[in-house]
């Protein structure tokens, strides 16, 4: 049974967020509404997941898993947040589980002396790469993307998630906190540390063109 406050919150999200209205239609059995939600969010979801798991194919699999969970949860859906916040909360859980499983798998591989697939090159290996000493504006787009990706990969999982939600989803601290199950202050610290880390890694490159 919903309280009056919860009912009022649900109504307000329904009013301001068209995606919440679509999800309510999915709840009522409208399959076309679900397809519309997939179309609206697939690229956004894969972009975030790809930068978390470093693998495009895996990101697509995880995105499909997220949509499946959304569909399975339709009957009990209550609009208690923006739809994107709800969707990325599921995505955060799915990605965290996948990363934990990958870490366990990696540990097993290391313990038996096999070399596991590590898609992200550590920053140390970048240091031995030939230094361009080239201003950033003259670098190839692909190289720049590679350097930024390396910088992102050097962040911890939570910092990376917060950065993705802030940069790509333009989420407020409050929504990021809700998505990641943290306090607003924790998100503030997390983003502050993440952005300072990125600055320290990327600034020498931006200033001098020296690859980190």
């Amino acid at each position: 049974m919903l309280t009056k406050a919860a009912e009022s919150r649900s109504t307000s999200y329904e009013t301001v967020d068209p995606d919440v209205r679509l999800m309510l239609e999915v709840r009522d059995g409208n399959a076309a509404a679900f397809e519309e939600l997939v179309l609206r969010y697939q690229n956004r979801l894969i972009t975030v997941l790809q930068n978390l798991v470093h693998n495009r194919h895996r990101a697509e699999e995880l995105a499909q898993d997220v949509f499946l969970r959304v569909f399975r949860a339709r009957a009990s859906y209550r609009p208690e947040a923006r739809f994107a916040t709800w969707l990325f909360t599921i995505a955060h859980n799915v990605a965290s589980n996948a990363l934990r499983a990958a870490a366990r798998q990696h540990e097993v591989n290391v313990s038996v002396g096999q070399s596991g697939e590590v898609s992200a090159k550590p920053m140390d290996s970048m240091a031995v790469a030939p230094s361009g000493l080239m201003p950033v504006r003259q670098l190839e787009k692909g190289e720049l993307a590679d350097i930024v990706r390396q910088a992102i990969d050097s962040l911890g999982e939570r910092q990376r998630m917060a950065v993705m939600l802030s940069r790509f989803e333009h989420m407020s601290y409050q929504d990021i906190a809700k998505t990641m199950g943290l306090s607003i202050q924790a998100v503030k610290s997390l983003l502050s540390r993440a952005r300072d880390n990125l600055r320290q890694i990327l600034e020498p490159y931006v200033q001098e063109g020296i690859r980190p």
């Binding site: 997939v38 972009t47 399975r72 720049l144 802030s166 931006v206």
Partner: protein
Amino acid sequence: MSDEHNALEQDTMVEELVSYLDGELDTESNRRVERRLAQDADYRQRLRELQRSWDLLDHLPRADVDHSFTESTIAMVALQTSDDYQHVQRTDSRQRRLMMGSALACAILVFVATFSATRWWAGRQDRKLLRDLPVIENIDQYRYAESIEFLRLLEREGLFVEGGLDHEL
């Protein structure tokens, strides 16, 4: 101590600037940051660096999937949820069979218990008669006894065992 203090000050400064760039400061804090930006060159420089590195994230790859991804997602969801439905149906059917089996077993158990209890109850009189048969058969002889003490004496001497009294008499 001084290093720690400096580090803390740096952290606070970065946190403040990041919140400012993200539009997360209240009006008063916003004004305070802007006043300091106007006066402090290092503070301004740090803001620029943070903004510049943040803008570089635009170079990260963005997904742009085609319609086949949408179609395969919808198909996968339809297939999975259909499997879920069949699984639920199978589970329901199994549960129904289990419940019917349990109900049948209970009914048989109740029938057997009732039948046994009825038989036991009905045979109660016959069992009493059977137990008293030796006495009934010799009731005429027992009438000659003068008292219950005399009968107890006879019992102690083993005369009530089957055929005992006939033998004596």
